[in-house]
């Protein structure tokens, strides 16, 4: 995920389709769209997470997915997991802290955009792979 401070990324934002977080994203025509900016008016408002899920998983959107608004370092892990490619962090946020926050967990229980399967499927296939290697 690309991390940028908001004031240095206004061009990125301007070049994207900006979508309010109460928009039904299933109604959007994405055929000509290469970048979508989803909005977090407050970091405690999680509607854009469900929009991101729809765009990545259901609509198969492969372009840039940008988080903007009240974007704080401690919410970056779930943004990455939902397929955001860019985070435009609030200007008072630290990029160093952002990197360290993203490194805090190595894996999660449930599936997400990058690892669609839950842990119990991943561990089964890991175990199968190990058996395959030794055979």
């Amino acid at each position: 995920m690309q991390l940028l401070l908001s004031n240095s990324a206004q061009d990125t934002l301007a070049a994207s389709l900006q979508v309010a977080n109460d928009t039904e994203v299933s109604a959007l025509d994405l055929s000509q769209v290469s970048a979508i900016a989803l909005h977090f008016p407050k970091f405690t408002d999680g509607r854009a997470y469900s929009q991101a899920h729809y765009l990545r998983v259901r609509a198969g959107f492969g372009g840039a997915l940008i988080a903007w608004g009240d974007v704080l370092v401690d919410q970056l892990p779930q943004m990455r997991r939902l397929g955001f490619s860019h985070a435009l962090l609030r200007d008072d946020q630290s990029l160093d802290v952002a990197q360290s926050v993203l490194a805090q967990f190595t894996a999660f229980y449930q599936g997400d955009v990058h690892e669609p399967d839950p842990i119990f499927i991943r561990e089964q296939s890991d175990a199968a792979a190990v058996v395959g290697d030794t055979a």
Binding site: G46, Y49, R58, R81, V101, F105, Y109, P116, P118, I121
Partner: protein
């Protein structure tokens, strides 16, 4: 019990490390108060009147002896009331010096709370918890909370299927779910496996009841949109039979539509119950469409595989405990026939605190944490350690926290009941009042909670003091008395046969009394909120009101009839009349000043 895998253990450790980092940044001023608040809340750290409150997650209520001992250590070493350092500007009405510390508190959602731990020690406490695979993940905040179930799950003779493997699998699915970290409001799930609903599923955001189809398939009845608070609502059934392996795919649909459509403009209208009521069929259609899309378009990724269900279920296999029932009967009868004064107490204990078990050689025993001198559901450090010892000696090292704020020993050999009874009685945990009037549910109330309008604990103490006579309690029989210090309803007053709600007017405490609520158990009937019996009572009238209600019941009951049954048969009016007759300061026939005019329900907002 579920045994944590290396992944599970590492996950909890990483969570503790993550929390320490967040706390450190907040202490250094690098993380604002607003940004830190939801992070600490999602680890169980509230800020209350005097100190933070920690809510520790006890997934579906199960605790091991080592976990109980860790809770005892926290109570002993960290739950300390530091009067000199305390900010008392927001004090409640009780003298703060009188409030208990060095103790844990069992909650109605099977969790454990502490009231006096300073935030500066919070990361140390999370490390200690992580050392026994415990944490406070999602015990607060606008996210999916701890999954609760029947305290007798896996051992109740009436069970369709053991709900605990599903509880654990859903716990894992909901833990740090990326999409559902910031919902409009909190989200509570309860699962019941019994033919009797002992988990109050109708009162939850999602209530799940295990069913077996005529073909022998296991599934869930799914109800959505139950809740208490200022708008009590019983959940609406969305699915009468959902194949059990689809439960996470379906929950994903339920929560996703709520995340998209739930109100965020008004905290009092943000729970899913309001959405379900407002949209009705439109919400249900959207959820069912979303579920179909998850299955057909997304590939139903969170379908529970047979292998995963088998892996998790294996860890809940019943403890292999057998005993000679004949010798058990002899031992029990020898106590019952002894001419000692304690024999009636033992027989009352067998009747009220001991329940039958799937395994005929075993019993489930409830340790009563409802005794005079202690707040309901409070356990001292010493009692927690002692309970851990009892669990190891008599119950395969396992206890359950109950919805009614007690502990259950789920695996007790019937020939060991006399020994257990003596040991529990020596600890003050064998009071034979489980399910009776003094086994009341109560929230911490205005003594601790900054939301509360009135105190719960002094009232609970007055009631416990009034009804100390075990024979009288036994004669009154089963009754649910629930006390909440405010309309947030943590003490579940809506579902009490007798419910008491603390309200505030002009800085004084008043108590509104409701009758006929039900949590959905067989005795209580179809879940329903109680009805208010009149204007609120003054604090010093409440015990007399309860007395009047009980006296009315005693005078009107038919043979073998319990309080709630008499109430349903004869209606509320005789009870209302007797309760209103004991008014003194709120008696409207006396010349009343504006000051002592009792408030009505609308003044709670």
């Amino acid at each position: 019990m579920y045994q944590y895998t290396p992944f599970d253990k590492q996950f909890v450790q990483l969570r503790a490390t993550q929390y320490r980092d967040q706390l450190t940044r907040w202490q250094a001023g690098d993380l604002s108060e607003d940004a830190f608040k939801p992070l600490r809340l999602q680890n169980g750290w509230y800020v209350q009147r005097f100190a933070p409150m920690l809510r520790v997650a006890v997934p579906y209520g199960e605790l091991s002896s080592p976990q109980l001992r860790a809770l005892a250590t926290i109570a002993r070493d960290y739950d300390h009331k530091d009067l000199t350092a305390m900010d008392t500007s927001n004090a409640g009405l009780s003298d703060v010096a009188m409030l208990p510390d060095h103790c844990a508190h069992f909650t109605t959602r099977q969790n454990v709370q502490f009231n006096w731990i300073p935030l500066s020690k919070s990361a140390d406490v999370m490390d200690l918890l992580a050392s026994v695979s415990m944490h406070g993940i999602q015990t607060s905040g606008n996210c999916i909370r701890n999954i609760t179930t029947d305290a007798f799950a896996g051992i109740a003779p009436d069970e369709v299927a053991d709900p605990r493997p599903y509880c654990e699998i859903i716990r894992q699915w909901s833990t740090l779910h990326p999409e559902f970290a910031f919902l409009p409001r909190k989200f509570k799930i309860a699962i019941s496996g019994g033919t009797e609903d002992r988990a109050a599923t109708g009162w939850h955001d999602v209530g799940l009841r295990l069913l077996r189809s005529v073909d022998g398939d296991i599934g869930f009845q799914v109800s959505v949109g139950g809740g208490m608070g200022r708008t009590p609502v019983i959940g609406t059934v969305l699915k009468t039979f959902l194949p059990a392996n689809q439960i996470m795919n379906y929950l994903e649909a339920v929560v996703r539509v709520y995340n998209r459509w739930g109100r965020r403009d008004n905290i009092y209208k943000a729970r899913i119950k309001i959405l379900v009521k407002a949209l009705g069929a439109t919400y249900i259609e959207e959820v069912n469409q979303e579920f179909e899309d998850i299955v057909l378009k997304d590939g139903a990724k969170h379908t529970i595989t047979d292998a995963e269900f088998a892996r998790v279920s294996a860890m809940f296999t019943a403890a292999d405990r057998r005993c000679d029932q004949l010798s058990a009967e002899k031992k029990i009868n020898s106590i019952l026939s002894a001419a000692a004064s304690d024999d009636t107490e033992f027989s009352q204990w067998l009747m009220h605190n001991v329940r039958s078990h799937k395994n005929p050689d075993l019993r489930a025993v409830t340790l009563s944490f409802k005794r005079f001198g202690f707040a309901p559901g409070d356990a001292s450090a010493k009692q927690l350690d002692a309970a851990a010892d009892l669990a190891e000696r008599f119950s395969s090292g396992e206890v359950r926290v109950t919805h009614a704020q007690n502990l259950v020993l789920p695996w007790v050999r019937c020939d060991e009941l006399p020994e257990l009874w003596r040991a529990a009685r020596a600890l003050g945990l064998a009071k034979p009042n489980v399910g009776l009037l003094t086994d009341m549910i109560a929230c911490p109330g205005g003594d601790f909670c900054s939301l509360a309008n009135a105190r719960s604990l002094p009232l609970a103490s007055l009631i416990a003091n009034r009804y100390k006579d075990l024979d009288e309690l036994d004669d009154i029989g089963p009754i649910d008395l629930h006390i909440s210090g405010c309309i947030n309803s943590c003490g579940h007053h809506h579902s009490g046969h007798i419910g008491i709600l603390g309200i505030d007017k002009d800085g004084q405490e008043w108590y509104q009394v409701t009758l006929g609520g039900s949590d959905g158990t067989r005795l209580s009937g179809i879940p329903t909120p109680g009805k208010v019996i009149g204007p609120a009572f003054a604090a010093d009238e409440v015990v007399d009101v309860i007395d009047a209600l009980i006296t009315t019941y005693s005078g009107q009951r038919l043979a073998g009839e319990y309080f709630i049954q008499t109430l349903k048969r004869i209606g509320h009016d005789p009870f209302k009349a007797s309760a209103n007759a004991v008014r003194t300061s709120t008696n409207r026939s006396k010349p009343a000043t504006a000051h002592d005019a009792p408030p009505t329900a609308t003044s709670t907002a």
